[in-house]
Symmetry: C3
Subunit: 265 residues, 3 copies
């Protein structure tokens, strides 16, 4: 069971709300009102709008850097107010709270202790809107969990949760073909290749028909303005332009279907 720090637990927030509205502030007001010792940390609110894959990548690559017992609240929720379930998931080390739409797919195959379907209105706001469950359900549940309310109090146990498709590497005649997983604010392009999906020997990386080069160590391994491929700090193959933006230089955006090609040679 995740060992919750009830003295001053960390609650992280991951959403596609952006910071330009008051939505995130309101979540913090509700949590802060329930637990005056909670440390509320923004993981990010820059998830691409409605993009569950993007939210999944962001959570998957950051949750482990928080201390044991951290509560991760995540909301990318195009189906809010419909029949999709609301979840509290407990793993060996962490809690996760959010909608049941595949956002927590990276937890499949991991050590999940229990999945709770959030049902107990005692721990929600009094009035539940149809469009802002982050405020009305998820934030208060995180607040109550952080002061020591038992997970089982929030609703019945369930056996499974939604999962997004993630088979994103294919073998082709030319080599291996992967996809774009994320583009960060530097214009760095994260691909779906993990370090352990790559060939053993030397290989060449292409972005569509553009030759990027062989694997390097870091941005500064090439000259300013030149493209560079390397394993990013989370273990994924990434393509950047040194002191520039690969996304701009290759006209790639987040929804691009362009392929990344790995050619052994």
């Amino acid at each position: 069971m995740a060992d919750l720090n009830t003295d001053n637990p960390i609650i992280t927030l991951t959403t596609d709300f952006d910071l330009s509205d008051n939505y995130v502030g309101i979540l913090k007001g509700i949590i802060g009102g329930l637990n005056s010792f909670a440390r509320i940390i923004d993981n990010t609110h820059g998830i691409h709008k409605y993009n569950i894959n993007s939210g999944c990548y962001s959570l998957e690559t950051s949750f482990k850097y928080f201390p044991r017992g951290t509560i991760h609240l995540a909301v990318v929720d195009p189906g809010v107010g419909t029949t999709r379930k609301a979840l509290l998931i407990e793993t060996a080390d962490f809690y996760f709270i959010g909608p049941d739409n595949g956002l927590f797919s990276f937890l499949h195959g991991k050590d999940i202790k229990r999945i709770i379907s959030l049902k107990n209105r005692k721990y929600f706001l009094k009035e539940i809107s149809s469009t802002f469950h982050a405020r009305d359900i998820f934030a208060p549940v995180a607040g109550y969990l952080s002061i020591g309310i038992s997970p089982d109090e929030f609703g019945p146990k369930i056996n499974k949760m939604e999962k997004i498709k993630s088979n994103r590497i294919r073998r082709t005649k030319a080599g291996l073909s992967g996809e774009i997983l994320h583009i960060d604010s530097f214009g760095n392009i994260v691909t779906s290749f993990r370090h352990n999906n790559l060939p053993d020997g030397s290989f060449m990386v292409y972005l569509v028909e553009n030759k990027i080069g062989r694997l390097k160590k870091t941005y500064g391994s090439v000259k300013t303005g030149k493209p560079v491929a390397y394993i990013n700090s989370f273990g994924y193959l990434e393509i950047a332009v040194s002191s520039g933006s690969a996304a701009d230089d290759y006209s790639i955006d987040y929804m691009s279907k362009e392929k990344i090609l790995i050619a052994t040679s």
Copy 2:
């Protein structure tokens, strides 16, 4: 009198400063230096530049979600350094600090206990600039208030404050005509209709000449890419495009004067 939590009070910040400069960081440094137990929470710094209406909507829709005794510091201040007054307002449950330019108009008719004109330089920074009173006056006043300095210490009581116009619904031949109050980062268009301004029976919502439809429950009540009108989670009539952006699809921006029409039929 607002019951200030002097153990670890919440101070919220609402500005049009954006987060891309160090202005907000500096406010937190000053407050954190005066009160090492204050919990400083960003309501939002994405208020449309110089737009007092936008600041007013943001504060009005979020202040109640914070616990009793919260200090709300708000700065949208095109008149900084001129003769506009600086205010501390106390209501039954909250404190508000900021410029006297209508930003706190939503408090008119509410239970205002006292309005203080901030004058006592003892609680300001030593040097007062003409362009950054958030730093020189409002942040230190919030810090001192949060450690228990009495409101009356900061300056004399005054009887009134500025108010912005807000009569934003008109009866026309075709039905009711309202205005755009806010556009959020999803491209959702908040209108000036509150749920209690709407006709009792069935009605049709139009954005200028575009038929949006009858009232629905939530985004997912229509297909992806389709427009939808609903009562938002703060009680206002809002227009969205499911998993899209209504502002983009109808080429509406924040300053648009386009009308929203409610036609009973």
Copy 3:
């Protein structure tokens, strides 16, 4: 020696990471895991990408507004993973942590107590990537420093650090010629003139060939939409458009080489 508040020290973050990815959240997770009482404050994450001058201006103008003992962690690091050193700098009142690339140039000539080259892997994450030293080195060092680990523990003392060029004012036939130092989110243009670089008598400010006017007190000193020059709240000559954007009106961006001219007359 900087008097560190080990009860609940402030650690500020200044980066060019933006908030749209999870990078900043991860730094806070690591620091929060090492010190559950640290108060982590974003100075800003909006430093122009790879722009060390921009980071330097942001730090220089904000660090003093934080209480004595504050740890300032700053990362604008195009050379990450190359041979550039990693630093901990102690001044009379503050600590600074970040890459040795000129980011801390404003400290030259100030009261520097010691400069440490960060070498001791005991205080780094176990695995050091080549592209994210903010996570692997700087954040954990800030966390350990904040709980009282002595600066000397982190590595050997060194005698100097990198410095960026900053001779940005020239005397010309027409008067004094300066440069653009920063453009803020309001479109206000900060110039390289400090108040003590300006002529004693009356003078006229030009942005390239555009006459801005004589020095005024604040934005509201001119009519809405009109340009205005004034000493900003940090002591620099700044050019704005009242309730508008000087950067937009004069088509100036951050990398503009346009000159600001001061003509005495």
